[in-house]
């Protein structure tokens, strides 16, 4: 009797392990289409209700965490304020100069801002992946709202990610901190171009790889999407979307390429309301 039980237990365990490997083999690199989409569609109203019901509790815990961190952040912000004041003065000068230049080249609408070609759809984050390996969030806007795969997603502060998969009323957004994410970007001013990749496990850090090691990049410089277009191919992200700020730029001589670290503008830990940029032409 006991042996029979043990045999049955082993058989079920083997079946489950084989089932897992089979599922992995069949679905790796592609979604299982109908099944995942169906389950996700079925659960998205439940997730939405759970998200709204638990928001007060989430906010209360976040308040404690943020208060704890605010003490350390206060001194850093004071230092930043001094630097930003200097930049603001410089920015005013640049704005005046920019207005004069626009008049000169008769670009009355200004360089078409990338966002203007898109139709932004507001979406609320209803769930988030539990591991840092897959940095994805689910939002409550889907194909019914015009959302499509690869649409860029932005938050109030900057680029957040892109739509990875979409269902009728919900969509999964791959964050820029996901290990499979890569965003073409440039440093302002200067225009050094490169590809932003995540530092898996550290959502406050992104890495910009660029080829041109002769160009200097300094701490505090802004990084925006470059939105290239060449030979019928185009970047998935429109140009000019703010991504982050350079935090460290180690000078490595005798290297053909360089890496700089940046802090994303968007607070990846507290994503709530986002905008999906639907429609529009890429790049």
């Amino acid at each position: 009797m006991y042996r029979k039980q043990v045999r049955r237990r082993r058989a079920v365990l083997t079946l489950l392990i084989l089932g897992s490997f089979l599922l992995l083999t069949l679905t790796y690199g592609q979604s299982s289409g109908g099944l995942q989409s169906g389950v996700s569609t079925l659960f998205s109203p439940l997730q939405s209700v759970t998200d709204r019901a638990l928001k007060p509790a989430r906010d209360a815990i976040s308040w404690f965490d943020e208060t704890f961190e605010a003490r350390g952040e206060n001194s850093r912000l004071r230092d930043e304020l001094v630097a930003v004041r200097r930049q603001a003065v410089a920015g005013q000068e640049a704005l005046q100069e920019n207005a004069q230049l626009r008049k000169l080249v008769e670009l009355d609408g200004g360089p078409a801002l990338a966002e203007s070609a898109y139709d932004p759809v507001a979406a609320r984050v209803i769930s988030r992946s539990p591991t840092v390996w897959n940095s994805t969030v689910t939002v409550d806007a889907g194909s019914g709202d015009g959302v499509a795969v690869d649409d860029p997603v932005i938050g109030g502060d900057g680029l957040v990610g892109q739509v990875a998969s979409v269902q009728g009323g919900s969509a999964q957004v791959k964050l820029i901190t996901d290990h499979a994410s890569a965003v073409s970007a440039k440093v302002l001013p200067g225009g050094v171009q490169g590809v932003i990749r995540p530092d898996v496990g550290n959502p406050d850090d992104l890495i910009l790889d660029f080829i041109d090691s002769t160009r200097d990049v300094h701490r505090g410089q802004a990084v925006v999407t470059s939105g290239w277009r060449a030979q019928g191919l185009a970047s998935l992200f429109p140009p000019g979307l703010p991504v982050g700020e350079v935090t460290s730029a180690p000078i490595v001589e005798q290297e053909a390429s360089q890496q700089v670290h940046l802090r994303p503008y968007a607070d990846m830990a507290n994503l709530d309301l986002l905008q999906v940029l639907t429609g529009g032409s890429r790049g």
Binding site: R8, R9, V12, L13, L16, I17, G19, S20, F21, L23, L24, T25, L26, T27, Y28, S31, S32, L35, Q36, S37, V39, S40, F43, L46, Q47, T50, D51, L54, A57, R58, I61, S62, D65, V125, S127, R128, S129, P130, T131, V132, W133, N134, T136, T138, Q172, H179, A180, S181, R197, P198, D199, V200, G201, N202, P203, D204, D205, I207, A269, N270
Partner: protein, 182 residues
């Protein structure tokens, strides 16, 4: 564990509730830059209460649901969580749980196992980006959180599944009848 249709319904409800709470609440609340992962703790608790088979099946099912909802490669979470559930069940079958500290400690250890498992699966499937050493801190903090969350999870699940638990029903049967006035 004696699985009647009623208990099966309860187990399904527990799995769905755990996944919804994880994705909509625990994953979105960070303490010290790390969010808690209660799913390994739920699977381990079910393994400790129901044995290795229950633990493995619960782990596979919960992992499958998570992968479906996140539109992640199916099977990755199932594989890791079924391992955690099976080991918890084996622990229960080999050792007696004498102290109330044991379930949280097992949850903590097996959450660390699950986090290492997630990392191993992901690295095997291929990671296209550099990996920060901070990921180790994330794993350790997740297992510490699991220690504290295991108390309500384990004892809550034991209460919810009491009619199905073999040991619990034995204890109930052994209890002497109370004689009024004695």
């Amino acid at each position: 564990m004696i699985v009647t249709p009623q208990i099966f319904a309860r187990l399904v409800a527990i799995a769905v509730l755990a996944v919804l709470l994880q994705l909509s609440f625990f994953s979105r609340v960070e303490l010290l830059h790390t969010s808690a992962d209660v799913l390994p703790a739920v699977v381990v608790s079910l393994g400790l209460l129901g044995g290795s088979l229950s633990g493995a099946v619960a782990g596979f099912s919960i992992g499958f649901l998570v992968d479906c909802l996140l539109v992640a490669p199916l099977g990755s979470s199932s594989l890791v969580l079924l391992g955690a559930g099976y080991l918890a069940g084996l622990f229960r079958e080999r050792f007696e749980i004498h102290s109330a500290l044991v379930p949280p400690l097992v949850c903590m250890a097996l959450t660390l196992f699950a986090e290492l498992g997630f990392a191993a699966v992901q690295l095997t499937l291929g990671v296209d980006a550099p990996v920060s050493p901070l990921i180790v801190r994330d794993m350790l903090l997740k297992s510490i959180y699991a220690f504290f969350l295991a108390w309500p999870i384990y004892f809550g699940l034991r209460r919810a599944l009491r009619p199905a638990l073999v040991e619990e029903s034995r204890v109930t049967r052994r209890r002497q009848p109370t004689v009024l006035g004695a």
